[in-house]
């Protein structure tokens, strides 16, 4: 019996190695259709007109606060990889300036050298005419970051970004932190620049707020906490201008704040600043949305317990690649959810080393 088993094992082993050796023998050097991979990988002859490189424009609604810097970096990396001339544009304001973005887009629409446009769409309905005109002119379009579900020809336009529901991770993280620290009760607040009316940001607040309530309810601790996201669940209003002062005021006046969630790259560092000013580092379960050099530093100092990165590098890189493939190979639009990367003290040193955040 032992002899038979040993023989079977030898045969099986021989077959296994044999099959591996067979697979590595060079069958993938040519496609079944008979063409070589090198030929198939070549750029289409008609992709570049008159041998000139393709020109793409990437336009954002605020180029002035640094959040979109990794987006531009990602786009430039992809542009370099595919030999594309990239024009990086955006409202120069450090706060959302959609009219300026629209003005830039209306000019880009008429520029005959532009082959592809990547844009953010934070104001629902405002971009339909532009997309229609771009498509009429044969310019391919991709959107990123903020999502407009009603956009003209939405199903044929790729979107790279993060679903607002990812903010739920932040809400759950707050509850985990509170339970871990054995906090008996207090206020969990969701400050937001409500008058700005950014629908994407408001949706994040809703998602994080609901997740917090659900997690507290699941832990049977909801009755111990005040969970406040304002009357419409889109945030406790801290005014249109981002600054730590109103958040300091919230913490001071409520007196029992144990959790905070910032929904974007403006409010999150303001929360960190407020906590730092009040010397409450590591004493409040503070999480937020978006990563930047400042948030990373605040996570290290304990002013923030964590923040959710929406991988902005990908939001620049992927649309450029997508548009190139659309022009070169007529690859249909594909959406990419960049999801959320929760960065805490444990992994903060591993992210953003090469301008990715």
């Amino acid at each position: 019996m032992m002899k038979r088993l040993a023989t079977a094992a030898i045969v099986a082993t021989t077959c296994f190695w044999g099959s591996g050796a067979f697979a590595q023998s060079g069958a993938i050097s040519k496609a079944v259709g008979g063409y070589t991979w090198e030929d198939a990988a070549k750029e289409g002859a008609a992709t570049k007109k008159n041998g000139k490189p393709l020109t793409f424009a990437i336009i954002t609604h605020t180029a002035g606060n640094g959040f979109f810097d990794p987006v531009y970096v990602g786009a430039q990396v992809a542009a370099n990889a595919f030999g594309i001339n990239l024009i990086k544009l955006g409202s120069e304001a450090p706060i959302d300036d959609i009219p300026r973005e629209i003005q830039i887009l209306n000019q880009i629409v008429n520029d005959p050298t532009i082959n592809g446009v990547i844009m953010t769409t934070p104001q629902v309905g405002a971009y339909n005419d532009i997309v229609k005109k771009l498509e009429d002119r044969g310019v391919v379009v991709a959107t990123m970051n903020s999502y407009d579900g009603t956009l003209f020809d939405r199903n044929n336009i790729s979107h790279t970004g993060q679903d607002a529901s990812a903010a739920a991770i932040g809400g759950e993280a707050i509850v985990k932190c509170l339970l871990k620290n054995n906090v008996k009760g207090g206020s969990i607040l969701f400050p937001n620049t409500v008058p700005v009316g950014n629908i994407e940001v408001n949706n994040r607040v809703k998602a994080a707020f609901q997740a917090t309530v659900k997690a507290l309810k699941a832990a049977n601790r909801l009755q111990d906490f005040k969970v406040d996201a304002g009357p419409n669940n889109i945030g406790v209003d801290v005014g249109a201008d981002i600054s730590p002062a109103p958040i300091v005021q919230l913490i001071e006046s409520r007196k029992d704040v144990v959790g905070l969630f910032g929904p974007n790259g403006g409010v999150t560092p303001a929360i960190g600043d407020a906590i730092s000013q009040l010397k409450l580092n590591n004493k409040i379960c503070s999480f937020g949305f978006d990563l930047g050099p400042k948030q990373l530093e605040q996570i290290r100092t304990g002013a923030l317990q964590g923040s959710l990165g929406q991988q902005p590098f990908l939001q620049g890189f992927y649309p450029v690649m997508q548009l190139y493939l659309q022009l070169d190979r007529n690859i249909a639009a594909a959406n990419l959810d960049t999801r959320a990367q929760l960065v805490t003290k444990d992994n903060v040193d591993k992210v953003g080393k090469r301008f990715e955040n």
């Binding site: 002035g64 309905g125 600043d273």
Partner: protein, 766 residues
Amino acid sequence: MTAPTNDASVRDMGREAPLLFGGWEVGLLVIMAILYAGGLYLNPAFFGSTDALFSVMRDASRYGVLAIGMTFVIVNRELDLSVGSTFGLTATIFGMVFAPTYFDMSVWTAVFWCLVMGLTIGLINGLMVTVLEVPAFIATLTMLFIGRGVILGLTGGKNIAFEIKAGTEPAFFRLGEINAFGFNNQIILFLIIAVIAAAALAYTAIGWTTYSVGGNEQAARYAGINTRFVRMRSYVLSSLCAVIAGLMSVAQNKDADPLAGFGLELIAISSVIVGGAAIFGGRGRVLGSCLGAILIGLIDKVLREGVPTTRTVDLGNGDTAQVAAVTQLPPGAVPACLGVILIIAVLIEPWLVRRRAIPRLWAWLRGRPPPPIPDLGGVAISGVQTRGANVQARGLGKRGIAAFFYRRDAAAVILMVALWLFGLWARPDFWGGLDNSFAILLAFSEIALLAVGLTFVMANGDIDLSVGSVLALSGAVAAVIMKDTNWGPLAAVGGGIMAGVVAGLINGWLTAYVGMPAFITTLGTFYWARGLGSSIVAGTQLNGFPESFNLIGRNLYELLDAMGLAPTGGLWLAIAKAVSVQTIFVLLVALIAGVVLAHTTFGEKVYAIGGNERAANFAGVNTRRVRFTSFLISSICAACAGIIYDAFYRSFIPTAGQLRELDSISSIIIGGGSIFGGYGTMIGSLAGAMVITLIRSLLSLQIILKDGSSFVLPQQWQNVFIGLILIVAVVGDIWLRQHNILGQLFGRRRVAEEPTHVEPVKEAKA
């Protein structure tokens, strides 16, 4: 310099507005006590402890220091709109000098360069106002633009953090920390500065000369006061106070935020006015301004309070939960309340003080005859400064192109053409095409529409700071009607325009009939209209309007198509697809407004009032009605812009129209309008709006080089470009056109070359 006599009347010049129990400041303290009591009721745990007091004082410290500097300027009958950007520049300069990621120098080197920067800005403001004779509003507005542009250009909009290095410099950064007594050290600095400034203004020659110049500059000059020096000193003090406030902010935040100081100029001005200073100069006290700043801080704190409540939260899948929370006023309530308080504070003076309401009430209660109401002065309080008449006189008899160069709007038209030609040179392949030309017109239409209405107001010698906020209010009203009612698009348009009419009625009535300065009235509306607009949409974005409404913001082809009149081919089709309905509307409104302003008696009355209101009044012009109507026109134009905004973007957000007031005022000034009134043409205002639009378009234009590579001009510096063009336009207008320095120079040369004609005359005179 000769100091005025040290008698009691001079010392009391800053206390000409007694109120309630003997002083304006007492009234402020009473209001504060009521507010504080409200806070105590809402949140006894916070307001019942010293925490609330220290918190209010800490936040008011920076406003207070800014307001102290502004007091010197306003008492001097001037204005400084640049303090917010000076505050922000302080943070930027400090951050760049101090932060390890930039120059990594010592904290005191950073402080030194901030003070140098503040001194420079103060001197530039002072020189522009006193030597170059640029109106204070324009000079400091320019500095605001340039300052904000420089901040954006230097930082790229990014925060400069230096928290870790700040830990190594406790001597400076302790300023922003809480001390052993439990309050922030900024409060001590604020109180020290307040005491020194109050003593200087009340008991030293600095104060007397400031009051004298603000009260009557001509009399002060005859009294031997160097008025130019006094006015420059005020600007320097204001800038230095802005630097100190900026350093306080840096010490507390330990970073430099590119948004630092954004909008603080209006908070500082509001503090001073609420504190009892007169916008026409000659009156104001440091104590009042400080209390005004504290009151604004307190309003912000109390209005953000609420009472405990329970909300039902939908968790999805039919699951709900009861959650404990705190009630809140709707978003925008704080600015709305600030605007109303600002207006009320200023109304107190003409209605309670100047009309002697309290003594009359007291007399009535005692059954005695009321004291007489003194002569209110009426139009005399307006600063009448007719300028530029000699320029137009020189242009009389000229024809064709020569006559054009004597027009005040010529420079804007020339600049507009030059900018457009630059675009054509840079991108001849598409810049001049039909589509791009109409795209530029599309971008221009919002600023242009606001500028059309504002031209009437400014030609009247008034100002309207509220146009951007009225745009937002009207847009909000129209959006809410479409979303929350089934009244339809026509009702939305009507509702939006009615909102504008109400704002215009308030602005016009308070300014023309009550006698409030237009700057203050419209600053109040700037706050309340935006706050109300934000409140009624609950701070959310509204969209999904009927497409029949959205046609207002589409191209002409879509409108004609909806009416069954769409062209099918040829040039008309191309034009219909390129031109927008809103562009046609704006040009039509501008045409009508231009005709009204230039060719009707109403337009002549507007210019007459702007040139000299008293003379116009004596000539039988109903000046109040004309000014009132001008405000109404301005607000209706802004309301139309709000409705177009909704249709064009197919949605509304509460930040609609933000900063558009500055764009439209700049358009008019660049277009030859005068901040003093009496001038301004529709062509000039439109050309000014186009100049601003073209600058922005060119700064996002892809310029292609010979080797095929391309680049875009540095967009971050656009505000610097606009600011420089603004100041060049104004200085050029004053010196090249009004003072005709070139003509004088060439005239002198001609005289020098022909001595035989001159010398006998001199001899004869001798």
